[in-house]
């Protein structure tokens, strides 16, 4: 068991460093720090112009939706890097046990995503005059982590698809865009056509955003446990699907030698 834990933590840490090592400060700061703030401002003002919802509504919704960028891209990049450096094959067949390895890769992504969301909440809120007290933060942080866990599951699916598709960046952007529309970040599901709301409920982030709004408005964690539970379940399903897809593709590639194709 301890061997698995070591693989989980050490492997994950190394991968995380490798992941962001290549990203210069010039990309990291704008993408993960500034862009979420700008997005929050954009939609808060759109909301004001439309006379729709409060600033807090857009701050919470967009802060969480923004975490999808690091979750999707980082997870996909990790897997793509493994393939590029031709270590994906060895990892998948190593005796270390695939599950801890992949989970280890996922944890830094989840935590990073939660940080991005938290920072966006704080900074975006600060600019717009929306703030949360300490107690609210204590309740928000776990919700953010659930959100990014769920989204990272989608990231695993994205990563798996990325093993086959060349234009992975386009796919990741499409997922981010779909989440923007369907997950209730800017438009409550009740205001969407029924079929769109159904899709939204099947996507990550939707339940977490609803929970976060409730908790930010003063609700307790217990009151949103149903939402959080559903979000965790969605995350688990996507993670399992992504993991399964990677294994399936690995099996396929052993037959067709496509896994290591750059």
């Amino acid at each position: 068991m301890s061997r698995h834990l070591r693989v989980f933590f050490v492997g994950g840490l190394i991968s995380y460093r490798a992941l962001f090592g290549f990203l210069s400060l010039w990309i990291f700061v704008p993408t993960l720090i500034l862009t979420p703030i700008f997005q929050i401002l954009l939609f808060a003002y759109i909301g004001r112009a439309a006379g729709a919802r409060s600033d807090e509504f857009y701050v919470v919704g967009n802060a969480i939706q923004c975490s999808s960028v690091p979750c999707l891209f980082a997870m996909t990049q990790t897997i793509a890097d493994e393939r590029f450096y031709q270590t994906l094959g060895p990892i998948l067949i190593s005796p270390a046990g695939r599950l801890p390895v992949f989970l280890g890769r996922a944890v830094p992504v989840i935590l990073n995503g939660a940080f991005v969301a938290a920072f966006a909440l704080f900074a975006g809120g600060l600019i717009l005059g929306v703030s949360f007290d300490g107690a609210a933060w204590a309740r928000l942080v776990p919700v953010l982590c659930v959100a990014t866990f769920s989204c990272t599951g989608l990231g695993l699916v994205n990563a798996a698809l990325g093993l086959r598709i060349r234009e992975t960046a386009v796919l990741s952007n499409v997922f981010v865009g779909l989440l923007l529309i369907f997950c209730g970040a800017n438009v409550p599901l009740s205001a969407l056509p029924a079929w769109m709301a159904e899709i939204g409920r099947g996507l990550p982030l939707t339940h977490a955003i609803e929970a976060a709004r409730a908790v930010a408005a003063g609700g307790s964690l217990a009151s949103v446990r149903g939402l959080l539970g559903r979000e965790l379940l969605i995350g688990a399903i996507y993670s399992a699907a992504g993991f399964g897809l990677i294994r399936f593709l690995e099996l396929q590639s052993r037959r067709h030698a496509t896994l290591e194709r750059a």
């Binding site: 210069s24 010039w26 990309i27 704008p30 993408t31 500034l34 862009t35 700008f38 997005q39 401002l41 954009l42 939609f43 003002y45 759109i46 909301g47 004001r48 112009a49 439309a50 006379g51 729709a52 919802r53 234009e167 386009v170 952007n173 499409v174 865009g177 779909l178 923007l180 529309i181 800017n186 438009v187 409550p188 205001a191 969407l192």
Partner: protein, 282 residues
């Protein structure tokens, strides 16, 4: 002299004379036009990049339409559709233009462009104008999307100012892109900085949100950006009212200012780069 010798003689740069001023002007116009056409052709053929350039603003447009509908501000949907249409022009330009020189470097053509006896500014401007012209596809796509999926009809009350507004916004965004390309000529991360400007420009130039709603200190920034004026002209041309032709004038005026600033900066940057070999042409 044989035809071939004639052709070769004419191919060489003619000596100084007064008719050459006119010739020079014609040459500049040809170079801009031809360069624009070629780069537009090349950019149009890059299907996958284009797909995302059109699709990305559509995501945001869709959300904006829903927000305005849910806010019971359905009268604002027309102007919002126009604003959303123009968002794509900025998206097409912001990343593509700032990394224009990076792209040429990757292709291996940058050193050929610098080695040519034409100023780099004249070579670069058509490129950024071509990237903003790609935005025309976005305008069409977004207006179709708004019409077909949301039933938003955009009238065109005054076609001339409307058309001029569209041309103006493409030109001013292309010129702003030129300034950005020049400013980031040394940076290999230029595209990231360009990408960073996407949402701020959408917000500040009044595409989806009236400038009057923005904090007071932001408004001067809006007025200094050409797209703001182009947007006004397009809206007023479509829905009537305002002074669209004046807005178009300001729009083009600012475009000229951006180009002038870019030419100035480019001159000093290239000089310093040649001295310190920092332009890394390959």
């Amino acid at each position: 002299m044989s035809d071939s010798a004639n052709a070769r003689a004419e191919a060489r740069e003619p000596g100084p004379s007064s008719t050459n001023q006119v010739r020079g002007f014609v040459r500049v116009a040809r170079l801009l036009a031809f360069g624009w056409l070629l780069h537009f052709k090349m950019l149009s053929q890059s299907a996958f990049d284009g797909f995302l350039a059109i699709l990305w603003p559509l995501f945001f447009a869709t959300v904006a339409f829903f927000v305005f509908r849910s806010g019971h501000a359905s009268s604002a949907l027309g102007p919002v559709a126009l604003g959303a249409a123009v968002m794509g022009v900025w998206t097409a330009t912001s990343v593509s233009a700032s990394s224009a020189l990076q792209r040429e470097r990757r292709l291996g053509t940058l050193e050929l462009l610098v080695a040519a006896p034409t100023s780099l500014a004249l070579v670069l401007l058509p490129v950024t104008l071509a990237t903003s012209s790609i935005g025309l596809y976005c305008i069409v796509a977004t207006l179709l999307w708004a019409r077909l999926l949301f039933g938003i009809h955009v009238p065109v009350a005054h076609p001339l100012p409307f058309a001029l507004g569209i041309v103006g916004i493409v030109v001013t965004i292309g010129s702003l892109g030129f300034l950005m390309a020049v400013a980031f000529v040394r940076s290999r991360r230029a595209w990231a900085i360009g990408a960073l400007t996407e949402y701020p420009v959408w917000l500040i130039c009044g595409f989806l949100v009236p400038v009057s709603l923005l904090p007071g200190w932001v408004r001067p920034l809006s007025w200094v950006l050409g797209p703001t004026w182009g947007m006004r002209a397009i809206r007023d041309g479509a829905f009537g009212g305002g002074r669209p032709l004046l807005d178009v004038l300001v729009c083009f005026g600012l475009a000229a200012a951006y180009v002038a600033a870019g030419v100035l900066v480019l001159g000093t940057v290239i000089d310093s780069a040649r001295r310190r070999a920092t332009l890394s042409l390959t």
